[in-house]
């Protein structure tokens, strides 16, 4: 097997993807009453809700009465010192964001819609406070713009969580909602991140603390130290992959037994991805393509064993960075450690997939070796009080009465597609319950399904190689991969679907729906598709 030199370093997208959405400038004044600039044809207003959260409203002169309330995604609640790879230099910001980006906002305004969004009172996992903020914000908007007849909610990532919660809890305020690349409940979400982080720690650097961070400044320093260690481990693996993709060396920080190091480190990366639920398709690695310069016999090996490891390497940066930042944040809120894998059976976790990825895991013996490390390693134990507190945070019931539109990428490494699937599953259960109740009451009519579940699937093949056979990671991320990697066409299709649902009390369906999706591109409606269930189901 030949060695590969990267055209350029693997892009470590990591946690910036969570925070890097465009922020829209708008007048922000710490006042409950909006302060508007009175400009024509679009008026921008700013102010702050009673919790101090700044908001932005933008309304065109030809306002048609429908406003889009946007909830932004996760922004770390602590600054990240310069020098830390990828995230370094991040400052906490509560700049309000009334839409996914300026282009989409402009398009909505041009159609006569209003847009509104908050920057929220605190960053980090803020769902409970953000829900209250948004409810107040809707009231302020309606008061300011009395022509308002419909409010639709949409949001991405954590904003998707907030949007779903708004739809469940406030059907009186909203006529339709679209959670996108959504997070589901914080417990399962952090189990995924915690497993990824614990896996990185176990295989590659046992000095990664991985949780149980101290209070105050000491805990902050520990978390930042973990970020450095995680990225250092990723960087070491990246260099090792570049030097020898078939049998990349283990990072110097790894303390796994020498016998285990006979298994290529790439297989450990794949194991971490599988045990946590991180997809094995990433921005640039499709798990289906090999360099054409390789002999045919080696191409199959590359597809089965090497490409998935590259995907794991590219994706795990995200999951582990979220693991550190969100773990620190939520532990501070919960008052202690909440990630607990003392009872986790990682062999069972990967049982369904180990055959599918047998080559990437270095066969049955490689799998057994890696599982033996996981079984023998000290586990993370939660503080019961912190777990109890976490359970008091808002979670999704799936019980929604207004039309909702769910949309996510099936290879999202941060909020895995299983997050969306869990909400779809809960809704299906709810609908079944309603149908049972209706039949008992003598009604022959099945309750209408008002949840439209859409998927963004990656292409079959998209990894590109140089003439020399090196993977090219300089290209834009493939559709269907990475976190909230949507096109403006897709955003606007969702917006159109929301407008229809809001106006008609039901989702668009049939041919018009399929035409809309086809025109937007890479949006799949398939009621038979079910995303891989999240790993932590039933635990």
């Amino acid at each position: 097997m030949r060695n590969f030199k990267f055209k350029r370093s693997l892009t470590l997208v990591a946690g910036t993807a969570l925070a890097a959405s465009l922020l829209v400038a708008a007048p922000t004044v710490a006042s409950a009453t909006p302060v508007c600039d009175g400009k024509f044809p679009v008026q921008s207003c700013g102010g702050a809700t009673s919790d101090g959260a700044p908001y932005a409203m933008m309304v065109p002169a030809n306002f048609n009465g429908t406003v889009y309330l946007y909830s932004h995604g996760y922004r770390p609640n602590v600054p990240v010192p310069a020098g830390i790879p990828v995230l370094g230099g991040y400052s906490v910001t509560n700049t309000p964001q009334p839409g996914p980006n300026a282009t989409v906002i402009g398009a909505l305004l041009a159609k006569g819609y209003g847009v509104v969004g908050s920057g929220f009172a605190r960053q980090g996992w803020n769902a409970d406070s953000a829900i209250k903020t948004n409810v107040e914000l809707v009231g302020l908007f309606k008061k300011q713009f009395t022509k308002t007849t419909k409010v639709v909610a949409w949001g991405e990532s954590l904003g998707g969580f907030i949007t779903q919660a708004l739809a469940e809890k406030h059907p009186d305020l909203f006529s339709a909602a679209a959670p996108m690349c959504m997070a589901s409940d914080v417990g399962p979400l952090m189990t995924m991140a915690g497993d990824a982080l614990w896996g990185m720690k176990t295989f590659f650097d046992p000095t990664i603390k991985g949780g149980s961070y101290s209070a105050g400044a000491a805990g902050y320093a520990e978390a930042m130290g973990d970020l450095v260690k995680v990225f250092t481990a990723i960087g070491s693996l990246q260099a090792a992959f570049a030097a020898n993709a078939l049998t990349p060396a283990w990072p110097a920080t790894s303390r796994v037994p020498d016998a285990i190091k006979a298994i290529p480190s790439r297989s450990a990366l794949v194991m971490v991805a599988l045990m946590s639920g991180v997809p094995l398709q990433s921005a640039h690695f499709d798990s289906t393509t090999a360099p054409s310069v390789l002999p045919v016999a080696q191409q199959t090996s590359f597809i089965l064993a090497i490409n998935p490891a590259f995907a794991a390497l590219e994706n795990l940066g995200n999951a582990a960075a979220l693991g550190v930042l969100a773990m620190h944040d939520i532990e501070q809120q919960a008052g202690g450690a909440f990630f607990d894998n003392t009872a986790t059976d990682y062999a069972a976790r990967i049982a369904d997939e180990q055959f599918s990825w047998a080559s990437a895991l270095s066969g049955a013996s490689g799998t057994a070796g890696l599982l033996s490390v996981l079984a023998a390693s000290p586990r993370a134990k939660a503080d019961p009080a912190a777990v109890a507190k976490l359970k008091t945070l808002t979670s999704h019931s799936g019980k929604v009465e207004i039309p909702t539109i769910l949309f996510t990428a099936t290879a999202d490494p941060t909020t895995a597609a299983g997050n969306q699937q869990s909400v779809a599953d809960k809704y299906a259960t709810y609908m079944a319950e309603k149908w049972t109740a209706a039949r008992k009451a003598g009604s022959p009519k099945r309750p209408a399904n008002n949840q439209l579940v859409l998927w963004n699937l990656p292409p079959e093949k998209y990894t590109k190689y140089s003439a020399a056979g090196a993977p090219d990671t300089s290209l834009p991320a493939a559709t269907g991969t990475t976190h909230c990697n949507f096109t403006n066409s897709q955003f606007l299709a969702i917006a159109d679907l929301l407008a229809y649902a809001s106006a008609n009390g039901k989702n668009l369906s049939g041919g018009p729906l399929l035409t809309k999706l086809r025109k937007a591109g890479n949006m799949t409606y398939d009621r038979g598709y079910i995303a891989p269930r999240l790993k932590y189901y039933g635990e």
Partner: protein
């Protein structure tokens, strides 16, 4: 006048009834995915290119050839059968997207002969084969896990399981190679593990055990296998892997003058493919192998003879080997399944037909079929054969001694089962 009216009324009523019954019989056919009044559309995923493709890439064309033959002879209840082949390059990830394509875009009625254990495991879970109720007939894999009817309610095996095969080889080793140093080379995944578990349960201990990871097979890796086997003094070597691994193993061993008694598992023992991969046929001389079907060269066999004729006419230029035989046979079984599902087939009806009538289907393989309402197990046995210098194989001991067993703890027994006759002209007329 009155009489006239009555006649007219009767005639009218008869016309209405006739039209009504026409709709009654036609509508379900048009209502089922992949079935029209003139066509039944089927799909298969398999490696058509890449290291794992040799041999396997012939199966789809062989199936197609058989379907064309049937179509030229009236089709299945008047409908022609078409098969869409998708190249998954042996990649499970690609199998998923290709199967999605078959189901969602091509809208096939059923999958037939999907190939590869890891591939179908991935497809079944990710595509939701059972949830969607898509019949998946005659899987080209012997992983015994697929025999779990609860997990795979719409899927049906065709090959005897790897566990069955290992149990039968184990019996053969005890009866014919007792006291010799045993070696094994196996694929280090569910394929090999399935077999290794059965060997262990049968009390076979290998003195030298070599595993390889699927996709890693090459002349270079085969050097290490042969070194280990030779160093361990293995006198009898069982190979439990794919043909693309058999080839470098045998070629390297021949080059190193290492000549144990080879026992080649059924998956990796097709002589023509091995020869195409550079293995001199002389190296195969004397190799022993479990076989489910007669030799593809045995023209005294009515199935082989018929299939060879079809191959000559409808698969022109393709050498007739085990893979072609297997593809044709899957075609034959598929047509019987479609016929058993009735003139207006539905997916549910096809599955029911497999469960209730599948065990009676004509098939080239010598062993019984295990299909029932509680079992999706296909063929259940092998006979042992010996290869000669021409790349042909003959029954060990001069006559077919069929061993049957199950994937569990059941005994290996000599069977007197007599397979059903080939349908006249190779065209099923079952219902």
């Amino acid at each position: 006048m009155i009489r006239k009216t009555r006649v007219k009324g009767t005639w009218l009523a008869a016309t209405v009834l006739a039209v009504g019954s026409l709709f009654a019989t036609s509508l379900p056919a048009y209502a089922e995915t992949g079935v029209t009044g003139s066509e039944i559309k089927l799909g298969i995923t398999l490696p058509l290119t890449g290291a794992a493709s040799p041999g396997y890439n012939k199966i789809g064309n062989a199936m197609n050839a058989y379907f064309k033959y049937v179509n030229d002879n009236g089709g299945v209840y008047g409908r022609k059968v078409t098969l869409i082949q998708k190249n998954d390059e042996y990649s499970p990830q690609l199998s998923i997207s290709k199967t999605n394509e078959l189901i969602l875009k091509d809208k096939v009625f059923a999958l037939v002969g999907p190939l590869g254990t890891a591939n179908f495991t991935s497809v079944h879970k990710s595509v939701g084969i059972a949830r969607r109720g898509v019949p998946s007939l005659f899987l080209n894999t012997g992983f015994s896990g697929f025999g779990n009817k609860k997990t795979y309610p719409t899927s049906f095996m065709v090959l005897p399981s790897y566990a069955m095969e290992a149990k039968i080889i184990a019996q053969f080793l005890k009866e014919n190679h007792a006291g010799k140093k045993l070696g094994i080379v196996y694929q280090n995944d569910e394929f090999g593990i399935d077999g290794m578990g059965a060997f262990k349960a049968a009390g076979i201990k290998f003195d030298v055990s070599v595993s390889y990871t699927s996709g890693s097979q090459s002349a270079a890796t085969a050097q290490t296998w042969v070194s280990q086997l030779a160093a361990g003094g293995a006198q009898v070597v069982v190979f439990f892997g794919v043909t693309s691994a058999t080839a470098p193993l045998l070629a390297v061993a021949a080059g190193a003058k290492y000549a144990p008694q080879w026992i080649l598992g059924s998956v990796g023992a097709d002589p023509l493919t091995l020869r195409a991969l550079g293995v001199p046929l002389a190296v195969l001389n004397g190799a022993q192998t479990p076989a489910g079907n007669p030799s593809p060269n045995d023209t005294s066999d009515e199935y082989v003879k018929q299939f060879q004729e079809i191959n000559t006419k409808y698969n022109t230029g393709t050498a007739f080997d085990d893979y072609v035989l297997q593809g044709m046979n899957i075609g034959l079984m598929t047509v019987q399944a479609l016929r058993a599902a009735g003139p207006n087939p539905t997916r549910k009806g096809l599955i029911r037909a497999m469960e209730t009538k599948g065990s009676t289907f004509a098939s080239v393989a010598y062993s019984p079929l295990g299909f029932s309402r509680t079992s999706n197990v296909g063929h259940t046995g092998y006979y042992m054969a010996v290869m000669d210098a021409n790349g042909d194989r003959k029954p060990f001991g001069g006559k077919v001694t069929l061993y049957t067993t199950n994937s569990g703890t059941g005994p290996v027994t000599v069977s007197t089962f007599k397979r059903p006759a080939m349908p006249a002209k190779g065209l099923p007329s079952n219902s």
